[in-house]
Structures are given as C-alpha cells and as structure tokens.
Symmetry: C2
Subunit: 101 residues, 2 copies
C-alpha cells in the first residue's frame, strides 16, 4: 500500500469506528447481519443456501464479521451457530450514534 514511513496513529474511537464500518462495507455482510437480526442466529450452511456465493466465500465474510467483533460463533457440531455479538453490537450502535450526532 506504500504507507508513509512512520505509521499514522489515530484516536482509539476513530480506529474502532473505522473497523466496524469497514466490516459493514460490503452488501453481503450487511445482508448476513440483517439475516442474523431477523432470526437471531443461523448456521453457515443456511447462508450458503441464501446467497449465490461459494461456501468458502460465505465463510470468509463470516470471519471478517467475527474479527470485527460483530458476530460470534458457537460450536454445535458439526455445525457452527452464528449470532450477533450483542455486546459489541451495542458498542457499535453507540459509536455510530455518537458519530452522527
């Protein structure tokens, strides 16, 4: 990316907001989250049926949402149940609300 020599540091709030926003920055991920909001939880396989995307692609999107802290996976072998991470969801909501106020 050809970064500037000494990496810029941003305020923690800024980093956090950008991080959440970035995770929300793809329509598929928005749809996944909407889906999770509707039915509280679901398995990877459910989403693979809903979207015309490869299983690996869905899994990748889930990983990003998880890395951003927006969702949480619970082992229900051999499946994995994904839910909104309520704590971080509230946090994101708060940060966005504050930002737009």
């Amino acid at each position: 990316m050809k970064r500037t020599i000494e990496n810029i540091t941003y305020k923690k709030d800024t980093e956090e907001l950008a991080r959440f926003a970035k995770a929300l920055g793809h329509p598929t991920r928005i749809e996944i989250l909407k889906h999770l909001e509707n039915q509280s939880c679901c398995f990877t396989g459910d989403l693979v049926e809903v979207f015309p995307l490869a299983q690996s692609t869905i899994s990748q999107h889930l990983k990003e949402l998880k890395d951003a802290g927006l969702i949480d996976g619970e082992l229900k072998p051999p499946k994995i149940k994904y839910c909104i991470d309520e704590k971080n969801w509230k946090k994101a909501k708060k940060i966005f609300t504050k930002f737009f106020s």
Copy 2:
C-alpha cells in the same frame, strides 16, 4: 475480484448502507469527517496540514467521501471548501440508526 457470473443484486437499502459504511471504513476519512463536523467546513489544504499524508492522498480520500455523498465541495477559487452534505448525512444517520435498532 473473480466475481460470480451473474452479478448479485442487493436491496437498495443494503447497497446504500454498504456504500456509506465503506466510505467510513478508513480512519483518515473518519478523522476528516470529524474535522468537518467540528468546524463545519474546511479546505483541502487545511487537511493536508493536519495529516501526515501527501496532498494527493488527502484529495483521494475527499473524492471518496464526495462520491459516497457524505461531503460536498464548493468552489472558492483557488480553493475548494468542503462541508458535510447535510442531506445525505441525515440519510446516513437514519439508515445506520435503523440498521442498529
């Protein structure tokens, strides 16, 4: 990006939210917007002084914010005055609020 053959179509709401979110998905752009919120408007040059980034890089970020509709540029030759686009700002606020509710 190796897209699926027939492009996926998303709901308009989803596309819009993802678009706004993507624009917010970089800390520099968040900081630019915070700056604009504080002092309502500013010139490109002001931002170049604030951030340790090249003028062209700042300009690029401004373009993205403008393309997303979050800011608006007004000619004040030889400068350009950037302000928050209030209409779309409200729209974004509404969309995010709805999404998180």
